[in-house]
Each structure stands twice: as C-alpha cells, then as structure tokens.
C-alpha cells in the first residue's frame, strides 16, 4: 500500500498537470491590470480634487477653535450628504442576524448621521453587507458585516485593493490591532450581536477614529440600497446578487453597480455613473427603450447614451480572453434589461432615488 505522503503528492501532481496558455494568461492579466490602473487613477484623481476642495475651504473657512467639536460638513459651506432611506418594515441585524446578506436591496444596519457620514454601501447576496464611512471628515473606514466569522479578505479602501488577513483564527474581541497586508492599517473585529460578525478596517491608523466609527453604527435599523437607477424586469432565471453605491464625492459624483447572476459563471453587471463635470455621450448605433445606445466593438457591453452627465452600462457575455463558458447572458437580455431601468430625474436629489 502506498503511504499517505506519496499518495497526496501523486494526487496533486496528477490534478495540477495540463497545458497552460502563457500568452493568453499574459494578455488577460495585462488587460485586467490596465483596467485596474485606470480605476485607481480615477479614484486618486477624484480624491485629490476633493482634497483640493476641502483644502480651499480650510484656508478660507473659520479658525481651528471655531471648528472644534463641529462636523466639517456642518460648517459655513456644508458638504451635502446622502443617507440611504429606511426600510421600516425590515428588522435590523441585531434583531435578526440571519437576514444579513439575504437581500441585495436591503442593508440591515446603518449609521448615526450626526456622528458619521456615509461614503458608500454594498450588499452582496450570501456574503455580507458593507458600509464605508467617514467620522468628522476622517479618512475612510470600511465596515463589513456577515453571518459568518469568515469575512472575505479582499477589501477596497480609498480605491485601493488589500488583503486583510488574520494570522490563525480571527478573534472577534473588539480590540484594535494592526491590519496585516497594510503598512499602517488598523482593524477591529467584534460581534455586535450573537450570530453577527463585524470587521472595521482603515488604511492609515487612527485608533480614536476607528473607535468612533464603530460607535456610530446602528444595528437595530435597516436601510434600502437606494440608487439613482432601479432595475426593472430581470432576465429569466437571473437574480440580483450585488447592489453597490458610492457617494464619497456626492453631489459631484455618484456611482452604483448591480450584479446579476443566473448560474456560477453567468454574470451581468449594470453600472450607473453620474459625474457633474463631464459631458454627455452621444455616439449611438441603436435605440433601447426610447434612448440611444451603443454596443461595444467586442459585443459584450451595451451603453445607454444621451443622458446628461450620466452613463448606464450593462456588461454581459464573457469579457475575458480565453474560452467562453457555454452559457452567458445575451445581448438581447442586456437590451431588455436596459430598456426597463428607471432613472432618477435628478441624481443630486437622493429623495428621488429609487
């Protein structure tokens, strides 16, 4: 009989073997990497614009003494904020932790808007819920909540991607400690209620800010994942798996993303982007739901155009290099989906969001 060492080694060698198309791997990695770079540069550019704007307010605004104890967005030139609307009929995570991550349209916790500002929120079905927030103008704090202690390790903070890992088994004891995977990051894990697991992480450590961010969370309320775009009828068999909204630069920039899934590899996303300082795209080659639209050269992306300062894009099909899986969302399904979306007339008025 073969010993266990040898049997494991043989099994692994057998399962790992097979040709690898290095050219395809390089092409695909580079293409995705460039897309990531563009996204990062956009995020950094937006942040720099915001820093510039806040810096100007700082120079011309009141002195430090007058600012003490006041939120920066409640000063003479208040920064408009967005608070997702309450879902009154739905219990909060502390009341029923089993609801967390079950409905991408609902966030089962919230913030005290007097103590923190929403920068964004996200629900991923069967994974968990996320709120990004800022306390008194601080840098971003990201809070992830789930029904499982195994919180996902890949996080994006301030537009940068990190792997937040815990050596050994994660300890949900509420202590604030350095986050591995970041130079100066801090992380805390705790259980807001039995059966509920939370993690707050920030990129550059400030223990007091992280503590105040945690204190600003509200666990007995639920809020809707509202956005300036609402999906209508979904393709047959598909369901919404992701709702993600970013209001960090509101009212100049509002983005939202919805993920749809039908089977393990059948995915489609609908992205909404309003930017007050951009123009209006007009190139079109078709009409969808009465609006001009454009199909990408690769045939995997449909965009509604002609909407002032707004882009609405559906990505479908198999966008990566390599063999496409047998079943993917079709152009016809993406067309029907875009024909049925509802758009807020004024994205800068959150009251009108769907």
């Amino acid at each position: 009989m073969i010993d266990l060492d040898e049997q494991i080694a043989q099994t692994l060698r057998e399962r790992a073997e097979g040709d690898v198309d290095t050219d395809r791997l390089l092409r695909g990695s580079r293409a995705r990497g460039r897309r990531r770079q563009v996204h990062r540069r956009t995020a950094v550019g937006t942040a720099l614009c915001l820093v510039g704007a806040l810096g100007f307010v700082g120079v011309t605004g009141p002195g430090l003494d007058e600012l003490a104890g006041r939120m920066p967005w409640s000063t003479a030139t208040p920064t408009p904020t967005v608070v997702p609307p309450r879902a009154d009929a739905v219990p909060g995570a502390a009341t029923d932790p089993t609801l967390v991550g079950t409905d991408p349209q609902v966030l089962h916790f919230g913030l005290d808007p007097d103590r923190a500002r929403y920068l964004g929120w996200e629900v991923i079905r069967d994974q968990g819920e996320t709120v990004r927030l800022s306390v008194a103008g601080s840098e971003e704090v990201r809070v992830d909540v789930s029904r499982s202690a195994e919180l996902f390790s890949s996080v994006i903070i301030d537009g940068r991607s990190f792997e937040v890992t815990e050596a050994g088994r994660p300890t949900f004891d509420g202590s604030i400690r350095p986050a591995s995977g970041m130079a100066r990051g801090l992380v805390t894990l705790w259980q807001p209620a039995p059966g509920l697991y939370a993690r707050a992480v920030m990129l550059h450590g400030d223990r007091a800010v992280l503590k105040r961010a945690v204190e600003a969370l509200r666990w007995k309320e639920a809020r809707r994942c509202a956005a300036p775009l609402r999906l209508g009828a979904l393709p047959a068999g598909a369901r919404v798996t992701v709702c993600s909204v970013d209001v960090a630069s509101y009212p100049r920039l509002v983005t939202a993303r919805f993920g749809l899934q039908r089977a393990a590899r059948e995915n489609m996303s609908v992205e909404y982007r309003y930017a007050s300082q951009t123009g209006t795209y007009t190139d079109a080659d078709r009409t969808i739901g009465g609006r001009p639209a454009l199909l990408s050269a690769k045939g995997t992306r449909l965009e509604l155009v002609g909407i002032p300062r707004t882009r609405v894009i559906a990505d479908f099909g198999w966008p990566w290099d390599g063999q496409s899986p047998p079943n993917v969302f079709t152009e016809a399904e993406a067309t029907a989906l875009l024909a049925d979306v509802e758009l807020s007339e004024d994205p800068t008025r959150p009251q009108s969001w769907k």
């Binding site: 266990l4 399962r15 690898v20 791997l25 580079r30 995705r32 990497g33 897309r35 994974q127 390790s153």
Partner: protein, 164 residues
C-alpha cells in the same frame, strides 16, 4: 525582472497551483489572471521584493480564500462529487487517487493550501508560513490536522517520519 518575464517564467506554475487550490480549471485561470492583474498594478514594488514569487503566491492563496471564491468553489466541489466515478469504474490506484482528491478538496482552505504548498510546490515550512502569513508552527498544525483528517477518512497509513 519585468512583469512579462515573470508571467512567462512563473505563470504556468501559478495556474497549476491555482488548479489545486480551486479544484476547477476555468476558475484557476480566472483566479490567476485576477491576481496577476493586481500584481501588474504594483509590479514595480513587487519586483523589488526579495522573493516576488512568495508575494504573488500569497496573493493567490488569499484571493482563493476570500469568501466569494470559496463560496463558488463549494458549488463546484458539489458538482465534482456528484460526477465522480465509482470505484468499480477505474482500476484501484486511480480510484484511490480520485478518492484522495475528493478528500483534499473537502479540507478547510488553509489545510488544503498547506498540503499543496508542501507536497506539490515542495516548499519548506518557513516559506509556506511566509506565503500564508502565519508562523511555521501554525503551518505544522494545519498539516497535522489535514493529515489526521485524511488518515481518518481514507485509512491510509502514514510512513514513519511523515513530514508533519
């Protein structure tokens, strides 16, 4: 070393490692592309590291361990179980390895990663610890648990001096 040189020399090994971590060929390539695309963005910094390959393999293991991937893997693993050949369909050795693969796939992520890095990549515990961002003691603990798990389920004896 440029990014292109790195992918040309190490890309195939990364995909093979991903096959063992994910248990699915398509997902392995997708995962490897995703990790390499992140490495591409930070390549200047990564290439200056003492051992860039350790860093990239850590990214690969972490990416696979992320919840989204794990959840998808579980779905695929169920398919794998359902479709697996019965013992009588193949000769004894192949059937044994098929059974062993099924058991390895069913191990917790960290235990499986330790086995793959130790028995396929043939890395020492110190390097595995660097990749998994834990101590060598934790690596040995994962290995011992994985061994106990496999031994208990398949009834294969460990030889004297087995690595755990």
């Amino acid at each position: 070393m440029t990014f292109e040189e790195y992918v040309a020399s190490r890309g195939p090994a990364l995909v093979r490692l991903a096959r063992l971590l994910t248990g699915d060929e398509h997902r392995a390539e997708d995962l490897t592309q995703d990790v390499l695309s992140r490495a591409y963005v930070h390549w200047r910094r990564i290439s200056r590291a003492d051992r860039p390959d350790v860093y990239v393999r850590r990214m690969l293991v972490n990416a696979n361990n992320s919840w989204w991937r794990r959840r998808s893997n579980r779905e695929l693993a169920v398919d794998t179980f359902a479709d697996r050949p019965q013992r009588g369909d193949l000769d004894g050795e192949v059937a044994d390895r098929d059974e062993m693969w099924r058991l390895i796939l069913a191990l917790p992520d960290r235990q499986r990663a330790v086995l793959v890095l130790r028995y396929y990549e043939d890395l020492d515990d110190t390097t595995i610890a660097q990749i998994l961002d834990c101590s060598p003691v934790t690596v040995r603990t994962h290995a011992m648990r994985a061994f106990a798990n496999l031994r208990g389920r398949c009834g294969v004896p460990a030889k004297d001096g087995s690595r755990p």
